[in-house]
Symmetry: D2
Subunit: 259 residues, 4 copies
């Protein structure tokens, strides 16, 4: 079984407030790392805003298969350089899972190109997350919907590009809908946006939420890719003579040799 | 490692002609089964048109994870009943890989809803299959393109629904392009259309083509799904009395006034 | 201004019940025809199940730019021949707007390839239809959402192919979401599925619903198309000599002459 | 008839070379403005890099419905401020048509989020642009393909997000394919990328190319939009007390038990 190297990044600010620390004593990143750590093929590290380079040094990024991102208060404090490095790593093949208020984080906004804003409300409302594509790998093992008894509400218009796959749509008791599970291919990499995870609720301790995150990690994990080449490129040589004077066997042999 | 049960279906007519039998002495299905049989997690059977129920009995279909389909001359000879069963099995979750001229087969046309026709020409032309989405699971392990030194030419307009993922585009030396690797989600299942595979060329003995088919089998393999329920469905309990005591006129008036 | 020829088809069964006739005395088709008839560029006819060939003779279909379809009780009574003609006309370029329970009609199911079922409930619930793509032509002139004070509830999983454009998502007070405005390109034609319109509510008299239908008619209206050719097709002649001995002007002239 | 206000932007550098000036004596922008100027509903201005604010002042941008962009040598000389203003205007609803080497311009790259690079070659090759979606508004009035006798060659992998609509695919005589007509919805606006238009060929004088650009202008033209609101948003009034009197533990327990 292949080991998948996961780095969980968190700005880690809310959880220093005692009220939030009761819910997430080890931070949101700690809770996610602990829950995902039960998957035997995951190797998990964490990184936070206050570490040098926010914990996302070249060495860390270059040995990360999938990066999970939670941020809210301090998007502006993430350095442009680190945000751009994350974007470049995704385009080179790394998976990126953006949680909840991370929709306004620098790496996500840069990768989407749009403003990524939405409606919101903190009102302890019921969220029902409906599975729209039951055959999608990220929906594997889920029931038809999951219910979060209290969550922050987000509402459409969510200003994102049309997802390549729309896996979940959320219903909120206060009257909103939200595209809450959105898959994107960007460059050689994959991005999954997942809506829930307000710091005031124990969302990341749930089995169903953990299942979704584990599915998303496996979906986003880089595969064996031949990086595309860009720039100047030669035409087929001697196109016009290509088939002259060669038998089918010769041609097939030549081609098989090449690939 | 999970075993994936693959059934390779072939109409098996061309290969009874000695000219074609030289290339595919065990039939196209035999060649594909032999090449894919080297994957240790695949369990492979074959089925052909002339078998009872074309070899696709309920028992076979119900124990097939992924069905591979090659047909050309005898689309009309496939019974409507079997074609409909294949469609229903895909909608219930089975993977379906449709090869080459199978784009006009009954199961594929029924699942697409369009006429699925294209341009074509038998002219021994060079086909270059370009990888458009290098991060897609079906492109795993491939170079930037593969070359088939001689293949039948297909050309756009290919009258299909827009693919959910477009993995490959083919270039032909005679002037055509073709969307040659097309992924669809249909119901709980997945469909992959792959263009090459004319009976006069040894395409299915190639390592790169085999790699694509093996990738496609793993991509299309059904996952652990909660089958959606359809039909009558109860509301959340506390909702039912929400609007009582207001007439339809009041409600309509209020709403029209607002919008 | 170009005239758009619209045919509104209705099975016209429910409205013969006095309870429903109070709401739609001229039938649902009559209400839609009357509301859309105020658009000066629309030329509107109606057709119903009990007419010969269900009112969809070759002559009618061949002079229809956009067909609107409402059906519920009598899907099975629509002849296979007429359903197939409608499908063929869409693939040739006609627009098709399928309303509400028409998601299980023969023409829609044939064009989609899936089973097209959903959850449902008659419970007088509030429906909020949220605009997901405000820049889409079908959303033109709408507010952020519209509210239908009472409608039949439909719920996901709605078993359809992924829409080419998803314009609306509905929220229902009983806990469901629904992809309620779905665009598809099929063949040369366009299909729009729009969820509301239960026979017990005066939905089709609303200004906002009428606006959506009028927008959809204009979006689905066939354009000036060169029908693709299918079948055998010649390669570029003398590809290898194409550029020899001709000046750029000659080449450009030749090409402009051709197109 | 509504007037569409089009601004054609060009870096206008190549055409100061006498060799290129022979082909485009009034600049590429001049040629495009002249050809599109024959459409009676278009009101056309031009703007170039060397003008103050590159000719794209707030006043110009705020009165532009569709901006056409050609650039190549001087992408880096476009100020970040102007590039960001263009992006914001697109997200607010303006149409943007990006031509040829403009795929590496700042506004396009910012809106896409990816690196947007491709293969290329200057080799006087034949380009065939195939219509993939004949029913798309941008393909209106075109034949099945158009041929440009000599163009610069671009080749896949073209590192862009999956287009919302893929209208054209190009074939090049040297062996490449290219997604050459790509539609995107971004924010409230629309973006169309169109591949041809190397400065050494008289591509922008062609009737067919002009037809495509005119179609794209009409497709991208902003419609009557209700700008979405973002930020804090009230719930439906009657909902707010729904869950009162239950502890978070009760709610969470109930939900976890269910899923």
């Amino acid at each position: 079984m292949r080991t998948i190297r996961v780095t969980v990044w968190n700005e880690y600010i809310h959880e220093k407030d005692p009220r939030i620390a009761k819910i997430y004593p080890d931070g949101i990143h700690g809770a996610i790392a602990s829950m995902l750590g039960r998957e035997e093929d995951f190797e998990i590290r964490t990184a936070t805003l206050d570490m040098p380079e926010h914990g996302l040094t070249d060495d860390v990024l270059n040995t990360t298969d999938v990066l999970i991102w939670w941020g809210h208060l301090a998007h502006a404090k993430v350095s442009d350089e680190v945000a751009e490095k994350v974007r470049q790593r995704v385009l080179a093949g790394m998976g990126l899972i953006v949680l909840h208020s991370g929709h306004l984080s620098k790496p996500f906004v840069k990768l989407m190109g749009t403003i990524c804003r939405s409606k919101w409300r903190e009102n302890d409302e019921l969220e029902r997350i409906w599975v729209i594509e039951p055959g999608h790998p990220i929906a594997e093992g889920l029931p038809e919907y999951i219910e979060l008894p209290k969550e922050e509400t987000y509402g459409e218009r969510f200003d994102i590009p049309k997802p390549d796959d729309l896996v979940f749509i959320s219903w909120f008791s206060g009257g909103e809908v939200f595209r809450s599970g959105c898959c994107y291919n960007r460059g050689n990499g994959k991005v999954f946006y997942f809506r829930p995870g307000h710091e005031e609720y124990p969302t990341f301790y749930r089995e169903d939420i953990t299942r979704i995150l584990a599915n998303a990690v496996r979906w986003a994990c880089p595969r064996m890719i031949t990086p595309p080449t860009f720039g100047h490129y030669e035409a087929i040589e001697h196109v016009k003579d290509k088939f002259e004077g060669r038998s089918m066997e010769e041609r097939t042999h030549a081609t098989l040799g090449k690939t």
